[in-house]
């Protein structure tokens, strides 16, 4: 076989490998969603501290869901759906669907009186979602975030009322705001120019 033909065939194999990897690469950046939900939690906590309204969490969460759906829909239009993205997305959708009716019902029934328990359950559930996502994505930073949430869930069971709020606020800052900003920075760095495939 002539050398140029052999080189062309090797180029074709390289092109196939590159393009398959491009498709499978986790191109979507969800850092913004972590920051958004950190702000949602802060807003709900501030509203609750202000007048102890039972509507604080439902209203802020509904606004958070609406903003998330709108932004995610606009971003998703230009991104392919991969099996991995669907698996990770399903974890977070299931988390939201589990949390909202549970806490809404507990709040409306007046049974959500123990702030420690509330923070501990939320932390454990967020630890579960972050932990599962980190295993799927093989992302150690997100695993660290999950560990912080799990630790928060345990600590919330033992600390005083005053410290409970502080611990929860710190966990939100570390695992939502800081991790979200980090995710946005990493996602931005991954968007590099691609090799043309049409020549």
């Amino acid at each position: 076989m002539p050398d140029d033909t052999e080189q062309e065939l090797r180029d074709r194999l390289q092109l196939i490998e590159t393009m398959i990897a491009e498709g499978r690469a986790h191109t979507e950046n969800w850092g913004w969603a972590f920051v958004l939900w950190g702000l949602v939690y802060y807003a709900a906590l501030a509203w609750t501290a202000w007048n102890h309204s039972a509507w604080a969490w439902p209203v802020t969460v509904i606004i958070g869901v609406a903003v998330t759906v709108i932004v995610a829909s606009s971003k998703a239009a230009d991104h392919p759906m991969t099996t991995l993205a669907r698996a990770v997305g399903s974890i977070w959708i299931a988390l939201g669907v589990s949390m909202f009716p549970l806490f809404f019902a507990l709040g409306m029934s007046g049974r959500l009186t123990d702030g420690h328990l509330f923070a501990a359950v939320i932390s454990a559930m967020l630890g579960l979602a972050n932990g599962a996502s980190s295993i799927l994505l093989r992302w150690k930073v997100q695993l660290a975030s999950a560990i912080v949430w799990w630790a928060t869930a345990v600590v919330e069971c033992f600390v005083s009322n005053a410290k409970s709020t502080i611990v929860f606020l710190v966990a939100i800052f570390l695992c939502q705001i800081l991790f979200g900003v980090y995710g946005m920075i990493v996602g931005g760095q991954q968007r590099k120019p691609r090799v043309p495939a049409h020549a």
């Binding site: 092109l15 491009e22 498709g23 495939a197």
Partner: protein, 101 residues
């Protein structure tokens, strides 16, 4: 002299090969994403996708999202098989892998 496999001409085109490879790594993908990844022009990309569609290698779903037309492509089973056979043929030509059975 051993029989050398023929390379499928529909798959062998560089852009069509790139498109099949891209689509094999995702569940589905939008036209603009394929354009960004291949850096092809709208006309060329549309023409090559049409050839793949006519060959039954890709499927297309056209819809409107926020009043904007959107074409979503996905590789079919025949497209996946054609790509696999093409890879096997190249490997056989390069003596990199087992012969195609």
């Amino acid at each position: 002299m051993p029989d050398l496999p023929e390379l499928n001409p529909l798959v062998h085109s560089r852009l069509r090969l790139a498109l099949l490879s891209l689509l094999s790594g995702v569940d589905h993908a939008e036209f603009t994403w394929l354009r960004a990844k291949t850096q092809a022009t709208d006309g060329n990309l549309g023409a090559q996708l049409l050839k793949l569609e006519e060959a039954g290698y890709v499927g297309v779903e056209k819809k409107f999202v926020s009043r904007k037309p959107q074409s979503v492509y996905r590789i079919t089973d025949s497209g996946r098989q054609a790509l696999a056979e093409y890879v096997q043929s190249i490997k056989k030509l390069l003596n990199l892998g087992p012969p195609v059975t």
